[in-house]
Amino acid sequence: MSDPSKAKPTALYEDHLRAGGRMVPFAGYSLPVQYEGIAAEHLRVRKAVGLFDVSHMGEVAFTGPRAQEAVQRLVTNDIAKAAPGRAVYTPVCLPHGGIVDDMIVYKRSEEDLMICVNAANRAKDFQWFVDQVGAMCEIRDLSDEYSQIAVQGPAAPELLVRVLGGRASGMKPFTFRDLDYRQVGITLATTGYTGEKGGEIYVPNAVASALWNELLEKGADLDVGPIGLGARDTLRLEMNYCLYGNDIDETTNPLEAGIGWTVKLDKGDFIGRDALVRVKEEGLRRSLVAFKVEGKGIPRHGYGLFKGDEHVGEVTSGTLSPSLKVPIGLAYVNVPHNEVGTVIDLDLKGLRRVSARIVAPPLYSPVD
């Protein structure tokens, strides 16, 4: 599993090697964890623009007269309210309210929707979709046909227009357009995982490398550069975006994970609704909070949080914030210790403890 040579290359594999990418296996693919260094790449995205190869993400198409109805049954958010051309972030839940995966639904029409799912969950999600709503519409896994390139940073909108033309301009956040690139159909969405402007491009494998290199060439004066998985993680963490497998999984529900805004109990029935109604009625016992460490010590997944001798929570993600230069993290913390402003102790694997203060999200606010 840890041998990059056994992992599948993406269409951009050779480009990563040429750029000095340090390749690691990730969700079955060989992907760059970093090029020049995580902190430098992180700051490039915050100050200029960076390119991410996120081809490992899965793409699943739902088509047919009942396609929207099928998606509505699966997801907690309300896709019916979204206009064609909108992208919607949403969890998919199990009947008991645990999260199968979090994903983005792209609605072309009520009969044509595309869902982008997490790489590590691709097979599980596809099976879940087919098992639950396979009788309602056609469901196809398009993941092997598509590469995905994320273009993120304050200079990203300018770069996208330079390469993709005027049709890439003036797009509102969480919308998408079908465009042509070298006579091939691509989809540009103004979505991302960094908190910065820009978008994500769904591009057929055949022209992925051409697009990647044209973005690098035409963005040279904008200080564009390729960004690895390491910085992708620190960037999302500064924005409090959940990472499946770290912050959310089948044992956590969206209400406690701080993404309750994606749960639309009034939209009609969906898988997990009854359980989530019960959670709401009973009240949360814990919630996912953002915190800053007040001192030295970097929080990591699994570290304990204490109030005196009482174990009150557990870290799900943590890093040294390259933007803020302080250690930050996400953690599930029990009621009533989960209020903003509360100071709790982070246990550094038994070595010592350091104070951590719960703060209002996001940990970092991109400069407009």
């Binding site: 260094g37 995580i38 902190a39 390491g230 030295k296 010590g297 970097i298 040294l320 550094l348 038994g350």
Partner: protein, 132 residues
Amino acid sequence: MSVPKDYRYTETHEWAKFEEDNIVSVGITEYAQDKLGDIVSVDLPRSGDEVEKGEPIGMVDSQKASSEVIAPVSGVVMEVNELVDDDPAVINSDPYDEGWFIRIEIEGVEQMDDLLTAQDYEEMLGQMDEEE
């Protein structure tokens, strides 16, 4: 991957070097720093602390991961390298020399004998490569 001949090693990628007067310098190997990537901080014991062979005595943090430092020998910490605290990147650039962590006074040089030799450690790294 450089593995100096006159150092001893642990399976957890620390090195120990016998200096003189029962003083042993301790740090992490080139392999360890390479796996961690850009090191951003270290957490080390203080001068005067007693450390016990095989026990965690500190932490090395890179941007992407944190790793415990395990004491390769038992003894009393005599000196802590302030340079690695001020500029942890030196651990990446010079793990065997300027990037040393602590100096420990040991009782009895024979506890060094249990540690891996450079040849043992190189063989271990070779096997790890194969398993990957």
